[in-house]
Symmetry: C3
Subunit: 288 residues, 3 copies
């Protein structure tokens, strides 16, 4: 079933996730594990951090989706990542790749390129990461992006076509593309960047939502980004109303989890801002 | 000294823990480390996450207790787990096993069965995990239980007798059994299941409390479960009183830590609900 | 440029950090990663947890500073620590060592001694850790100190001279010494010890601040300790004003992050208490 690009369809997807409670196997960096597991639980999914080569593939049998995030990379973990991605492909389970800090070191970039060619359903990164992965000259600066997301869109479209995947570029505006269509997500707040691993967590939510809408991973990804960004906006608004406590990333992190937990159709109907770019088809790029 | 099954005895145990400040060596999954360490500190114990084979056994010399949790398992960590359990046994330090997601993969189940046979003082899991460990057909679904805790009681009793240990089954009602006696703990709130690693954290608290009551690990385990559940109830009640912030697992997680920190005899005297099941001795099970 | 030992100079350093946004490569224990990354982001720095031998050295090329914390030690991680420290030395990037639980096991103590001799710019620990590292008899008790920080000052001075480094001893009063000068930091609150990994996080902030004041790592370390302690004081005061929620380490942890985020010159001008000890030069210690 194809999803529509509106609040009603996003609400439908949210309800579906809460009904299906997808079990998302997360092979992710150490920094992200606490917030990622809590946000998956809050939105209604079920997290399982299972990474080692001895069981990473086996676990896919009972999982609904797979997230691979290369944040705190090591050789041992790469083995588990490859096993899990291979199993997901065989079992036709959706899996999503987060290319954290692509371009930062040769080992990291090589690992990400290898994984990206294993056919993830979605790749989500910031502009620097997507540009580095796409082979652009833009050097990455750790996990924070030094480039605007709009700069990465053209490279992201090319990458999506080359790898036959969906590329999501986080930034002030988020872009989601399959190489042909480009969706713009106008949600979120700069405060989310002051909280560690919110990008990582978003990628895990994408895996959860895509598992509930396998016929339309493009729009499911945009919905996931809109809902996560909206939860961030709500969290910040709640904190601004507090009279006693300071209003900073510590408090917003707590409220982000609660906003994901309480998020419902009325929130989406009040504010949902995802649009499709009206662009010509990229006739000058080849679908190699 | 034997403990009584009442609030006064629980209060005595809590005071004793705060006086002795047991140093709990935790070999635990990555997801749980932050909340587990913070909850151990909050209740009055001292956490130390020391896992590698090179020092896991040596550290037992200065530790008061040991927790082994197999959440984010890998071959390297299993080596440290075995070393630490062996050292705990030689040094007669209490140790507790958390069989996270038993049944999910062959590697995991085999590892858990191996560790369970090394004579932990207590094994705490949800119903699915205990049933999987007991060899029942009940397939596990990641770390969330798909079975009710009451279903697992009979299997838990058998397991306790077979392994000469205490088995604690978390659920709507918690059950603690040594194979003969069955204690029921009527505490907690469903919200705790929306916060990652609260079960893991409870198991660490059991290790801490058992180290302060080594003559009566059965009742100490029930007291630990009651106090953790009660802290969860208090945390949720506090959050419900908040006027500004949303009331969800993010806020409850913060208040859970504070409730453990402020928990005292008056809380226990207000609400303590642990009872012993009046059942016949299990004459039909063999103590193999 | 040399820094002064006053609030104005601390404020200058804080502004400089927020302008330069130093990228701090953290090879740190699993327990600390979430709070460390969030506190680095909150104060204005950029964290990157990159640890494995395959990329730990390469990452130093784009990093501003390096933190090595041995909390959850293992052989694999030690390889990355050595690689990164070596790269930092070659590239002349400041790096800081946190000798968590020095003295607890032979493997741990040997590793810490090895790293300490690789010329870190600063070593920060509690009194037990510094005394253990200095070869004193004081046995460590996990990560909590059993000795007063003042006891460790003389040993710390000797250690600083022997290793040609700066030694910072955390405690009720913090001491920072290069072996000749001794600075006293009168900030912080006991509640910080009830929150896991606050000491680890402080060491990461020291790395960040030292990278912005490479000519004066001694005073930069004292400023970092003062600002972190002051943020803890502010966090506790905010929580004490709360009417609904309990006031414990859970809430203070959240407010600590927010206090680091909102910390500014006016906070420092209101309360900044760092003084230099007026002591004779240590004529009786040799600079071996």
């Amino acid at each position: 079933m194809k999803l529509d690009l509106d609040a009603k369809s996003a609400g439908y997807l949210l309800d579906k996730l809460r009904e299906e409670k997808p079990l998302v196997q997360c092979i992710t960096n150490y920094v992200s594990m606490d917030i990622m597991a809590n946000c998956l639980l809050a939105i209604g999914a079920s997290p399982a951090m299972v990474h080692c080569a001895e069981e990473a593939a086996d676990f896919q049998k009972i999982a609904s989706a797979l997230l691979i995030n290369v944040g705190t990379l090591s050789t041992e973990w790469v083995a588990g990542m490859k096993m899990a991605a291979g199993a997901a492909n065989i079992l036709q389970k959706p899996w999503v790749l987060d290319p954290v800090a692509a371009g930062a070191t040769p080992f990291r970039t090589e690992t990400i390129v290898y994984l990206a060619k294993l056919r993830p359903w979605v790749i989500r990164g910031n502009a620097s990461e997507i540009m580095a992965l796409a082979g652009a000259a833009g050097a990455t600066r750790g996990v924070d992006s030094t480039a605007e997301s709009s700069e990465a869109v053209e490279l992201g479209k090319q990458l999506a076509l080359d790898l036959r995947t969906i590329v999501a570029v986080s930034g002030k505006v988020d872009y989601v593309t399959d190489g042909t269509r480009v969706l713009e997500v106008h949600h979120g707040t700069p405060m989310l960047q002051k909280i560690t691993a919110t990008g990582c967590t978003l990628t895990a939510l994408i895996a959860a939502f895509v598992s509930c809408a396998q016929d339309d991973p493009l729009v499911a990804t945009a919905h996931a980004m809109a809902m996560f960004g909206l939860a961030g906006e709500i969290a910040e608004q709640v904190c601004e109303k507090e009279v006693v406590a300071a209003n900073g990333p510590g408090a917003v992190r707590v409220q982000l989890i609660d906003a994901l937990y309480t998020l419902d159709r009325s929130d989406l109907y009040t504010h949902y801002d995802v649009v499709e770019q009206m662009l010509d088809s990229p006739s000058d790029v080849s679908d190699a």
